[in-house]
Amino acid sequence: MPIYLYIDRGSIVHRLNPTVKVFALFIMFWSVYWVDHPLALLPLGLVMVALAQLTGSWPNFYRLRWLFILLIFFTTLAWMVFYRKGPALINTRIIHLSRASLIFGFGRGLKLAELLATSVLFLSTTKVEEFTAGLQRLGVPYRVGFAITLSFRLVPLFIDSALTVVQAQSLRGYDFNRGGPLERVKRYVPVVIPVFMGALRKANNMAMALEARGFGISATPTSYIDYPIRARDRVAFAALVGLGAVYFLIYYSGYGTISVK
């Protein structure tokens, strides 16, 4: 099971300058942020589908399919509790099902799914070293950039260790699913402690290995790979600025919002 999402395909997106890719990440988030209506989110979603096809990122989406499905489903459901506008089809103390709450909830779910999809696309096409370089170019200090990218390396390791701990404790007869919600949270103590202690030890070993290989000697290390700005980067940059502007205009003109009659 690969730890990283990165898929070495060499598509045109893979070959973009890392700074442009970090900018693309920002613009996608920006565009998603401004609109609420599923119809307004749809074109962005189609762009992402096209990008997934172009970059060969489908295996990652497949790996995370349940996350996408659950995210959309439960967000839609949750907003039926909180968004109590519009003529109700069903109206109980808990659930308020109306066309408006359905559209709003679904829009929110889609929004979260698109944020996730953007991240998946970014990580599928960007090596962690490129991410660091891109952040550095945008003025983020090297150490901060490196720490962010290192976390991408650590999280899967911790998840892996947590799974092992769950297995070890369940073999000692431990039942994680007993009791009410609070009790259940407490029941994860036998997992949290070993994982936390293991994480500390791992992080300590890693920090030691990093320093032993010269990390910290210079605030601006050199980079083995050169990332020149090419014509395709300029085109991509212009397209992204355009996309960001269009989405801001959609918001500004009021088309992206959900109106309740």
């Binding site: 390791l157 007869g173 431990y174 293991g198 791992k202 890693m206 032993a212 290390p221 050199t222 083995y224």
Partner: protein, 582 residues
């Protein structure tokens, strides 16, 4: 160990410690006490000693991890290439002293192999052209040429550790320190790394190697033996490696061949199995005259009758039966392929095979952590698939490789009581069982201590105790001796043997040849998810073609014995056999 002043003036040491003492913050004793150590240019020095003797602390002084990274009180002077390191940071020393750690997973941070090697060079601000020019040679030097675009996480253990070495070598440091570089590797990975270490030595790199197995350090220039933070002996291997008691006392596994010769009453050192054979034949001319040098035919040589427990009682109902088991992760390749075996009560089975051969996957099936894609497992006649893992926890216990994956309680006593409590046993019974298992693993006096303050060996025994508290009839141990020194390994295995004698079936996954030879009675060899051999341990070591393809190396006592025509499993056994024929 101080060099003569005249020597130092002519040729500064590659690295040296002068009167160095260090106490870790919060530590109750000095981890190093007034240590003087010198590494001459081009020299390879082996550092050995028990866990906690100060080996790693000494090594870490050489690149300033002590005292810059590890907090504590430091006294003394460290010099590299004649230059005192006072005030230097760890990163300042990186291009002079390269350090490779045991935990290779924690040393690799990059997306591909080339980036990994480039990392250190980028840090010191090397120009791009030079970085690019150095990556190829650094990878070639460790036998990873052409691996540039590979994902480091996809490499084997041996490859990962060699990559870690390449990334250190790229800076061309004069001194390379390797802190137990092969503890987590299978025999093949271990051999790869030591072959590389000897190549580096041939290229004039000054080397410090920390290791528990004396055999691996037999060819270095000097050995330094540490105990409780002090250098208690040092000298060429030929001098130190005949002092078997001292080595064992210092938690070091003495070379098998020297143990054989010692048991024969010879106080001799052999640098290899071949050399040991020559020495023994010279001392025991009658043996030499009567026994061929090597088995002439491919048939196993006739063996003396040695009573061996039966590996499997044909008539008894096996406790556990695996029938045509296959397993693959969704969309993944097959990890287990048509595995069939049976384990009876009271057996002692070792499962061996390369990393990735399916050993742990098989073990996880036995306890129900994984469900077969095809085939089935029967426990006491019941189908495993119908049982929850916890339901059989008191029948089949599983001790994970890393004890820290299960330890969480505030005291040793609570940790052991955790399992029985989950099964709803009453307090009296829990207390009785805790008492019993803590006595078995010799941790009774530690009952009220915080488990995180125990040594690795103690934590490993605690993990076994907490699984034993459920009174399983079979115990699966995944690499139970990883990271333990020789004394701790012996103590651990004595415990496992006692349990086995008490009737508990043992299934032990291991890479360590002497553990298999001295303790197991039956051996299962796995390769690419299949069982390649299932039979007696002695029988396995007689199958040359199987051994050649298994990446598993017999212990040296066995290799030496086979040169005399006898498949010995222990050095003492071989010595007795030779004596009886002389």
């Amino acid at each position: 160990m101080k060099p003569l002043e005249s020597e130092r003036a002519v040729d500064p040491a590659a690295a040296e410690l002068e009167d160095v003492s260090f106490t870790y913050a919060g530590g109750d004793r000095e981890a190093l006490q007034e240590v003087d150590f010198e590494l001459r240019p081009g020299e390879m020095v082996g550092i050995m000693g028990a866990s906690g003797a100060g080996k790693s602390t000494l090594a870490k002084c050489l690149n300033r991890i002590v005292p810059r990274f590890e907090n504590g009180t430091f006294r003394g002077i460290v010099r590299v290439g004649g230059r005192a390191l006072d005030g230097e940071r760890v990163c300042d020393v990186a291009s002079m002293v390269g350090m490779v750690f045991q935990d290779f997973e924690a040393q690799l941070f990059s997306t591909n192999v080339a980036h990994e090697v480039a990392f250190a060079m980028e840090q010191i601000g090397m120009p791009r052209d030079e970085i690019a020019a150095r990556i190829g040679p650094a990878l070639a030097a460790v036998g990873l040429a052409g691996f540039d675009d590979r994902d480091p996480t996809s490499l084997s253990g041996g490859e990962k550790q060699r990559l870690a070495i390449a990334s250190v070598l790229a800076l061309r440091p004069g001194v390379v320190v390797l802190d137990e570089p092969t503890s987590d590797l299978d025999p093949e990975g271990k051999a790869e790394v030591f072959a590389l270490i000897h190549r580096m030595r041939g290229q004039g790199v000054s080397l410090v190697v920390i290791e528990h197995e004396a055999e691996e350090l037999r060819n270095c220039d000097r050995i330094v033996l540490l105990r409780e933070g002090k250098i208690i002996a040092h000298g060429p291997p030929a001098e130190l490696m005949v002092r078997l008691e001292l080595l064992e006392d210092c938690g070091v596994h003495p070379p098998d061949v020297n143990r054989v010769m010692d048991a024969l009453g010879m106080h001799a050192h052999a640098a290899s199995v071949e050399e040991a054979e020559t020495i023994i034949r010279a001392h025991f001319p009658r043996t030499a005259a009567t026994i061929a040098t090597m088995p002439v035919s491919s048939e196993p040589a006739p063996q003396p009758r040695i009573p061996e427990p039966r590996t499997n009682d044909e008539n008894a109902q096996p406790f556990l039966r695996v029938e045509q088991l296959s397993f693959a992760y969704p969309f993944g390749p097959r990890v287990l392929d048509d595995v069939t075996l049976a384990i009876a009560a009271g057996e002692f089975v070792a499962i061996i095979g390369q990393n990735g051969s399916g050993k742990t996957t098989l073990a996880k099936h036995l306890v129900g952590l994984l469900a077969p894609s095809a085939g089935k497992i029967l426990i006491g006649g019941r189908n495993r698939a119908t049982l929850h893992p916890a339901e059989t926890a008191h029948e089949v216990g599983y001790v994970f490789q890393n004890p820290d994956h299960q330890i969480f309680a505030a005291t040793v006593g609570d940790e052991v009581a955790f399992g029985p409590r989950n099964f709803g046993l009453d307090d009296v019974e829990i207390a009785r069982r805790s008492e019993e298992v803590l006595r078995v693993v010799n941790l009774t006096s530690e009952r009220d201590r915080d488990p995180f303050l125990l040594s690795k060996g103690e934590r490993q025994r605690l993990a076994v105790a907490s699984v034993l508290a459920l009174r399983p009839r079979m115990l699966i141990l995944d690499e139970p001796t990883t990271g333990l020194d020789y004394r701790e390994q012996r103590r651990m295995m004595a415990l496992v043997s006692d349990l086995n004698r008490a009737g508990i079936a043992i299934v032990m996954i291991t890479h360590t040849p002497w553990l298999v030879a001295e303790y197991a009675r039956r051996l299962v060899l796995m390769r690419e998810g299949r069982v390649m051999f299932d039979g007696g341990v002695r029988e396995f070591f007689e199958r040359d073609e199987l051994l050649a393809n298994s990446s598993f190396r017999p212990p040296e006592a066995t290799m030496l014995g086979r040169r005399f025509g006898f498949t010995a499993l222990r050095p003492e056994e071989l010595a007795d056999w030779i004596k009886a024929r002389s």
